[in-house]
């Protein structure tokens, strides 16, 4: 299975895969993102956390050319990708999922994945019309790969199901499969665990781990489930009000007073205690997972 999915271009060229400098984005008068610098190391899992409305999704949108940044430079593997149209950003090796799942609803799961392969397939118009042997071979390969990918994310039995008829959790997995199958260098997950119960979140952690280790894909994820974040992230960037509040390893972040104030809330002392307790509980689980 993993040979079908194997990534051809492994091996670090440089340490930093994604390099964002001075990114800014404002909507009308509202500065949703202000002068954000972000650098993501190759092969790492990098988490972005922060209060609601902090600008996390907007950063994703800027990187994937969903919205046009107002300022800043974005580099992937040393190449400028800001200002390019979305499909060319994708061609550089960026793939993502969405906070509100966005699948091709009236296509089946496997077709969704096949669309994800578009970039990899090379058949020309004439090749398709004349049904050349090359095209047929490629098509068969693509299907095999798509099946393998569904298997990889754990929903092989859904291949023929229309995307809109799948339960939410499976839709999230399908979205990941669709993004992954194009062999991106960078996979950006926007709240992948939202709407999952803790047990399912746990399974997701395993999936992300495998994406990194088996497929060698660098992952950025936005997440509010601390359990997931702490279990998987190599580094964490904390956003607040459109700017970076803190950045560091999980242990550093969970000890950061500012983060606790801004993100975990300071209300009734009891709640605060509970929250911190909660957090350390997650951390111990994360460490157990890492061991």
């Amino acid at each position: 299975m993993s040979d079908v999915l194997a990534h051809p271009s492994r091996g670090p060229a440089s340490e930093t895969l994604l390099d964002v400098q001075g990114l800014g984005k404002s909507f009308g008068g509202l500065a949703a993102v202000r002068r954000v610098d972000l650098s993501v190391a190759r092969g790492s899992v990098h988490a972005i956390i922060g209060p609601n409305g902090a600008g996390k999704t907007t950063v994703f949108n800027c990187i994937t050319a969903f919205v046009k940044p107002s300022a800043g430079i974005i580099r992937l593997d040393g190449a400028r990708i800001d200002g390019l149209p979305a499909h060319r950003v994708a061609a550089h090796g960026v793939a993502r999922t969405y906070q509100n799942v966005r699948l091709f609803e009236s296509m089946t799961a496997i077709e969704n994945v096949l669309v994800g392969e578009h970039r990899r397939l090379k058949s020309s118009f004439l090749g398709v019309v004349l049904r050349t042997p090359g095209h047929r071979a490629e098509e068969a390969e693509a299907r095999e790969r798509a099946r393998a990918m569904l298997d990889f994310v754990g929903i092989p039995h859904r291949a023929g199901t229309l995307a809109r008829n799948m339960p939410y959790g499976d839709q999230r997995r399908l979205e990941i499969a669709r993004a992954l199958v194009g062999q991106p260098k960078l996979l950006m997950l926007d709240e992948p665990a939202a709407g999952m119960n803790p047990a399912e979140g746990h399974a997701l952690v395993g999936l992300i781990e495998r994406i990194r280790s088996d497929l060698g894909v660098t992952v950025i994820l936005i997440e509010h489930h601390m359990r997931v974040v702490m279990a998987i992230a190599d580094r964490i960037t904390v956003f607040d009000q459109g700017a970076v509040l803190a950045e560091g390893r999980p242990t550093e972040i969970q000890a950061d007073e500012r983060v606790i104030t801004a993100y975990l809330g300071r209300r009734a002392t009891a709640a605060e205690v509970e929250a911190v307790e909660h957090l350390s509980e997650e951390a111990s689980i994360a460490e157990a997972g890492a061991a």
Binding site: F27, L30, I49, G50, P51, N52, G53, A54, T57, Q99, N100, N165, M166, P167, Y168, G169, D170, E191, A194, G195, M196, N197, P198, A199, E200, G201, H202, H224, M226, R227, Y263, L264, G265, R267, A271, A275, H278
Partner: protein, 239 residues
């Protein structure tokens, strides 16, 4: 102001597939009832059937002794059922203010509405800052707050919440759960669907587990919280 909801033998099908099969439960006035279940278990479907968004295949829904099974959704709202739907379903091209205001569409008591609005803004101060922004451009968490606020503006007697903490930062999760409790204390009966089963069961008076469209377990919230089956399947505590 007592509400009593009685659901018996509820069945909902999508084409050939029965998403909910013969579900019966009840909620007494002032209770918080929680539904726990895996993805695709049919939780959303049950809620939608209760507020009339799904035509049901069989069964009966009785509110305060009145059979509301065949009523259209808006009639049910008038009888005090309100929902915070999955995925928020805000009116994206209306401002936060308009969304909140339209939440009180069925009401004509201006002063009271004003009061409730203040209440909501007090509950979610963030919304005050975003008051004139189009709801569709809010961040996920902000949208969730508006959805809650909108449902509260109808002054429901019976509030259905479908994953109200989805996508919320931990600090807001607390806030929302706190506000649910508060609303409940004010006399609103609550039916809560929540993936964060741990927190949901904590505040629930009673709960049941939905598995593939059928109820597999039922009991008081704290009992289910410690039920081994629940702990392994929904809370992520192995063993």
């Amino acid at each position: 102001m007592s509400v009593n909801l009685q659901v018996s033998n509820l069945t909902v099908t999508y084409g050939a597939i029965a998403a909910v099969r013969g579900v019966s439960f009840s909620a007494a006035a002032g209770e918080i009832v929680t539904i726990v279940g895996a993805n695709g278990a049919g939780k959303t479907t049950v809620l939608n059937a209760l507020c009339g968004l799904r035509t049901i295949g069989g069964g009966a829904i009785v509110l305060d002794g009145e059979d509301i099974t065949a009523l259209p959704p808006h009639e049910r709202v008038r009888r005090g059922i309100s929902q915070v739907p999955e995925g928020r379903r805000l009116f994206g091209r209306m401002t936060v203010a308009e969304n909140l205001e339209i939440g009180g569409y069925t009401r004509s008591d201006r002063a009271e509405k004003r009061h409730d609005l203040d209440h909501v803004l007090e509950l979610f101060p963030r919304l005050k800052e975003r008051y004139r922004q189009l709801a569709g451009t809010l961040s996920g968490g902000e949208q969730q707050m508006v959805a809650m606020g909108r449902a509260l503006m109808a002054r429901p007697r019976f509030l259905l919440l479908d994953e109200p903490t989805m996508g919320l930062a931990p600090q807001i999760v607390d806030l929302v759960l706190e506000s649910i409790k508060r609303v409940n204390r004010e006399g609103v009966t609550i039916l809560l669907v929540e993936q964060n089963a741990y927190r949901a069961l904590e505040i629930a008076d009673r709960a049941f587990v939905l598995e593939s469209g059928e109820i597999s377990l039922t009991g008081p919230g704290d009992v289910l919280l410690n039920h081994p089956q629940v702990r392994s399947a929904y809370l992520g505590f192995d063993g």
